[in-house]
């Protein structure tokens, strides 16, 4: 079907694509960020944001603002937009849109399970959950004692159920297990999403495979770096890598045996797209790696808008908006804590 989307795409997807492109044009620009970075108080930020699309959401907030309120309201806007698009979508776009939220769902499950493990209040945890990853029975996650119970009680009803089949053990939950569970789930999720996009074909498959491969590779690198010095065996580590992406399969073999960050670097520099990424970072430094990855991701996401008649724009838009909210959170935090010198450290300009 590749090349013929232009004939039929607009029948079902045209309206929503227009909507999402409209939303994209309301993303904050570099000049907005420059202005925001000059703010002295959170009220200034509110004042500036009131001139943007966030205005109506922040309008009626009483004045001593908190960073959490700003982030919450901005997220609310994203959720509203997402819900609107989901309501309008038809198959297979609606499934595609739902896939986007599964990542948040996994994060929420992990958050609640970890929280209950450390005996936090469930309501408090629920407030911290990302609203995009909510499902009906999420509160009852706290009941579960081990993985199989978790699966049997709650997750069997959710879309995550098929991903879970790989990590059912009757072991008790602990931090390590949960982290492994998260990564196994994520691996299964990414692979499933990848397969789904391949099935859709056309430009969607092409662009999404690029974006998802990048995501998978980034996770692989992060898993490797985080598992250095832990008791995770090489084979276990190898199992957590998703079975696609630029690094698959040879890069994975090499990553699996890495013992320190410089070895990771050596592996990655064999791949030209990542070489440029690592060349910006001096040896032994892993702090800036996250930012570099985020920047690269934003660049790729922006490129997704260059083509028409495909679904990747929805994915890209959601991710960009999330990045924007992360930026706002960072700026607000810096402003609130009087750390304005660090404000540029973690802000990634989208345009």
């Amino acid at each position: 079907m590749y090349g013929f989307e232009a004939l039929t795409f607009n029948i079902h997807g045209g309206y929503l694509e227009a909507i999402v492109r409209g939303h994209r044009s309301t993303l904050l620009t570099a000049s907005d960020y420059n202005n925001l970075c000059q703010c002295e108080t959170l009220d200034d930020i509110k004042m500036h944001l009131s001139a943007t699309e966030y205005g109506p959401y922040l309008q009626n907030e009483p004045s001593p603002l908190h960073t959490t309120t700003i982030v919450e309201k901005c997220t609310l806007k994203l959720v509203d937009e997402y819900k609107h698009m989901l309501c309008q979508a038809t198959e297979p776009l609606s499934t595609f849109l739902e896939y986007i939220t599964y990542g948040h769902m996994i994060d929420n499950v992990v958050l609640i399970v970890t929280g209950t493990l450390h005996e936090r209040d469930v309501q408090e945890l629920l407030e911290k959950c990302h609203p995009l990853g909510m499902f009906d029975s999420i509160a009852s996650l706290a009941v579960a004692q081990n993985m199989s119970e978790l699966y049997r009680l709650v997750l069997v009803d959710t879309p995550l159920a098929p991903y879970f089949s790989q990590c059912i053990t009757s072991e008790d939950l602990d931090d390590m297990n949960i982290e492994i569970m998260r990564n196994t789930l994520y691996k299964a999720y990414l692979e499933d999403f990848y397969r789904f996009c391949q099935k859709l074909g056309g430009a969607t498959a092409e662009i999404m495979s690029d974006l998802l491969s990048f995501e998978a590779d980034r996770r692989a690198v992060n898993i490797t770096i985080n598992s250095i010095g832990t008791e995770l065996t090489r084979d276990d580590r190898r199992k957590l890598y998703s079975n696609f992406g630029l690094l698959y399969p040879y890069g994975h073999e090499e990553l699996a045996v890495c013992e320190d960050i410089d070895q990771v670097r050596a592996v990655m520099e064999k791949y030209p797209p990542y070489q440029s990424l690592f060349s910006k970072i001096s040896y032994g430094e892993s702090q800036l790696l996250d930012k570099a990855f985020y920047e690269e991701e934003v660049k790729r996401l922006c490129l997704a808008f260059e083509q028409q008649f495909h679904y990747a724009v929805f994915f890209a838009y959601m991710r960009l908006r999330e990045q924007e909210i992360r930026n706002l959170m960072w700026i607000s935090e810096c402003v609130a804590q009087n750390q304005k010198s660090r404000v540029h450290d973690s802000v990634i300009f989208i345009f």
Partner: protein, 811 residues
């Protein structure tokens, strides 16, 4: 004549000492005739000087909005009209608002807490009443036990953990201990999920009983009514209990202990009921208190909101001024009408005096750099007409304002299309009703449609009056002719024409005094006669209006001192239009006066095709052929006259000024070479002159006029077409509905016919036809009339004024 040209404007600079700035700006806002220029356009809102005050006002506005929402939510509508409230300073207001918000928050918070406690009790009561039904002692219990036992046994074969369960269950049966129970209440929507989850969590070892609650419970956070379901879970084992309680918690299901003894149950229910009634009283008292607080706020809410709006506007205006730190003064620039400059000066002096400032405000004129805004002093009568013109484009500074003519021509052209004095009277009644209600409607918010109608009440009035006039000329009253002005000039020769009133009429006395003779009505030649009359009238009206438009372009050119435009645009345009269509108009008048049978189409067409041919029977007067040839030649010369000279002369002028400039530069270069870098003043004044662009522009203009002369004249024929459609439609409704129904001797049919006639007249003729005639009149003004002279590239004068502020806030 105020309306003919916009007010003269002056750009003034204000230098205001800081201490009197607030006072000065607020007085100016009261006066409302100074438009400030934003001198800080490059600064973002929070970098400006008074950003803090704006923020504070925003905060206050938010609080007021919050009060308003609360008042709306509590459903208070009737409160005593605001009594004399002491005037508050804005700072006091801020403190008061904060206090009030705090108080209200506290009240709401308490209320919510109370309500939650109340809900808890209510739920407890419901659970007690319902659950006791499930938990009736002895018989029922053992029954459940047996069932559960069977359940376990039947499941035992399949479940891996059967042995474990049996261990749990069997001892309990052995000890004859009772099954434990958890009872509670849950939202109806979550009931199924809860049941499923409980089933899974206990692996099916439980009994779930439920019954819908009879009362709905108010959710305190959203104040919505929620339907709930009472449930009782029977199970065994302590571990299961913790599990079940956790699940219940996860589903927001509130669990309440239900004692198993009937007497204690009764006792508790009684206790709960008494506490409930106590609680209700407390709640009512709280609500009363809250409403009192809200009513006292509601009394001043509007006044405060207005005050805060003004305050915000003042600071926003102050933010537009330049803050000069060293001199401790604010520098502002703005436009004001030249005539009110003295008044502004006086106001500023008053402000200085009132703020006890040592230094006065300095006001002086500045050299304007951009074109001044356009400001017309309108009153409630002229405003609507000015709006009609402004909708097309705001007049340039001091450009001729077509509104002056539109006031008469617009309703008149409307009436030409709508002429029927019956319908006119209906419109007049409507317009008079609007005028009678003027005072009442002015201060009241009306719907968008009514608002539009009300804004155009004077337009409507004039339209109605002119419609009656034109209707009398057309002699139509709901399409029925009357003979007010003496009898018809025609009569029958014999009796034959009373049945076939088409032939044999002859004129026996003076023509009918005013308007169309009633005898034309229904005759065979009615349509040809009326068509020819209305068509010719349309062309006459059109040519007159277009001539007026061109004449106005002359006024414009003379006012702005553009000799070129007079000589090479106005003159040839006038000649071209009048030598063709002016001549046609003349022929029409001559034909009317002489009663000649000449065919004017033929005359006009052959004037172009073969001007030298003999006119024959179409000749209206002597020397017509020679005149036609002369006019044709005039028209033909007018076209190149319009096209060529203007751009060439412009180029020549430009070259001359350029030469002069070169002399100067040569002289200068001997002294200093740096002169080359300086921008040339003459260059700037004339801008970049591009000959080809100017020529193309002139060509387009010329072609547009030449073609437009033909097409615009044709366009005026819509006057005839719409008038024809209107009169035909009303004839059809009158004859085919009213007369047809009257033909039956049946009261119901007659009544139905009358109703249908009234309905069609009201909706199709009075509403849709009015709209369409209005739109066509609008088009004739915007396109055919205004494109002759009107540029409409100005911008409106938007003074800083409190009165416009409240208008915006009101809508």
């Amino acid at each position: 004549m105020d309306l003919f040209r916009s007010e003269r404007m002056t750009l003034v600079q204000l230098i205001i000492p800081v201490e009197s700035a607030y006072c000065a700006v607020s007085y100016l806002g009261e006066f409302g005739l100074l438009q400030f220029r934003d001198l800080n356009a490059n600064k973002s809102p929070f970098q400006r000087t008074f950003a803090n005050q704006v923020k504070r006002c925003g905060e206050m506005a938010r609080k007021l909005q919050y009060f308003k929402d609360q008042i709306l939510k509590s459903g208070i509508t009737s409160f005593v009209s605001p009594t004399m409230q002491p005037d508050l300073e804005i700072e006091e207001l801020e403190i008061q608002l904060t206090g009030l918000e705090h108080e209200l928050d506290e009240i709401n918070h308490n209320d919510e807490k109370l309500r939650m406690a109340y809900n808890e009790l209510l739920e407890f009561k419901i659970v007690l009443q319902k659950a006791s039904g499930f938990l009736l002692p002895s018989k029922r219990d053992t029954y459940a036990e047996i069932e559960l036992g069977e359940n376990v046994h039947s499941n035992g074969n399949y479940l891996q953990t059967a042995s474990l369960l049996e261990e749990e269950v069997i001892p309990s049966t052995l000890e004859q201990s009772r099954l434990s129970s958890v009872s509670g209440i849950v939202c109806k929507s979550k009931r199924l999920m809860l049941e499923r989850m409980l089933f899974r969590a206990t692996r099916g070892n439980m009994l779930f009983n439920q019954s819908p609650a009879d009362e709905v419970i108010v959710d305190p956070s959203t104040s919505e009514m929620v339907e709930k379901v009472v449930f009782v879970v029977l199970f065994s084992g302590e571990q299961t209990r913790t599990k079940i309680l956790k699940v219940c918690e996860a589903f927001d299901a509130n669990c309440y202990p239900v004692p198993e003894d009937v007497t204690t149950q009764r006792h508790i229910i009684r206790e709960v009921l008494t506490r409930l009634s106590e609680m209700e009283r407390t709640l009512d008292a709280g609500l009363h208190h809250r409403n009192q607080a809200l009513i006292s706020i509601a009394q001043c809410q509007a006044k405060w909101a207005n005050m805060v709006r003004r305050e915000m506007a003042i600071y926003k205006t102050l933010n537009m001024l330049n803050f000069d730190v060293t001199k401790k003064c604010l520098v502002g620039e703005g436009w004001c009408p030249t005539s009110s400059k003295a008044k502004i000066q006086e106001i500023l002096q008053r402000a200085t005096y009132d703020s006890k400032s040592q230094l006065g405000v300095i006001l002086h004129e500045m050299e304007p750099t951009d074109s001044p805004p356009t400001y017309f002093r309108t009153n409630s009568f002229t405003k609507a007409f000015q709006e009609i013109v402004d909708a097309y484009g705001v007049a340039g500074y001091q450009e001729v304002n077509p509104t002056v003519y539109t006031i008469v021509t617009f309703p008149f052209l409307f009436a030409v299309m709508f002429g029927d004095w019956g319908h006119g009277i209906c419109l007049l009644l409507g317009a008079l009703a609007l005028l009678a209600l003027e005072r009442k409607l002015k201060n009241q918010e009306v719907g968008s449609f009514m608002g539009m109608l009300f804004a155009g009440r004077y337009v409507l009035l004039l339209m109605a009056v002119f419609t009656i006039y034109c209707g009398l000329i057309y002699n139509e009253f709901f399409s029925i002719p009357f003979d007010f002005f003496g009898g018809s000039a025609y009569k029958c020769r014999d009796d034959s024409c009373s049945t076939a009133h088409t032939m044999g009429l002859f004129k026996y006395r003076e023509p009918y005094a005013f308007g169309v003779d009633p005898r034309w009505r229904g005759s065979r030649s009615e349509l040809p006669f009326l068509n020819s009359l209305k068509m010719k009238m349309s062309i006459l009206l059109g040519v007159v209006q277009m001539n007026l438009g061109i004449l106005l372009s002359y006024f414009n050119a003379r006012f702005f001192g553009k000799q070129l435009d007079i000589r090479y645009q106005f003159l040839p345009q006038m000649i071209f239009l009048n030598s063709l269509f002016g001549y046609l108009s003349m022929l029409i008048v001559v034909k009317w006066c002489s009663g000649s049978q000449a065919d004017l189409y033929h005359v006009m067409i052959y004037m172009f095709l073969s001007p030298t041919d003999d006119l024959g029977e179409n000749q209206l007067f002597r020397g017509q052929k020679q005149l036609q040839i002369f006019l044709l030649l005039l028209a033909l010369t007018a076209v190149p006259w319009m096209l060529f000279p203007k751009p060439f002369i412009k180029r020549k002028l430009r070259q001359e000024s350029f030469q002069g400039c070169e002399y100067r530069r040569l002289g200068g270069s001997e002294v200093d070479d740096d002169m080359d870098n300086e921008p040339d003043p003459s260059n700037q004044r004339y801008g970049d002159f591009n000959f080809s662009e100017a020529f193309v522009h002139q060509m387009i203009h010329c072609i547009e006029f030449v073609l437009g002369a033909v097409s615009n004249t044709a366009s005026y024929l819509r006057l005839w077409a719409l008038s024809l459609a209107h009169s035909e439609l009303s004839t059809v409704f009158y004859e085919r509905i009213l007369l047809l129904a009257w033909g039956y001797d049946n009261f119901i049919i007659r009544l139905g016919g009358l109703a249908t006639f009234a309905f069609t007249t009201a909706f199709i003729l009075l509403m849709m036809e009015t709209l369409s005639a209005f739109l066509h009149a609008l088009r004739l003004h915007w396109v055919e009339f205004q494109n002759k002279f009107y540029h409409g590239n100005g911008h409106k004068f938007r003074p800083f004024s409190f009165s416009s502020l409240t208008e915006e806030g009101g809508h």
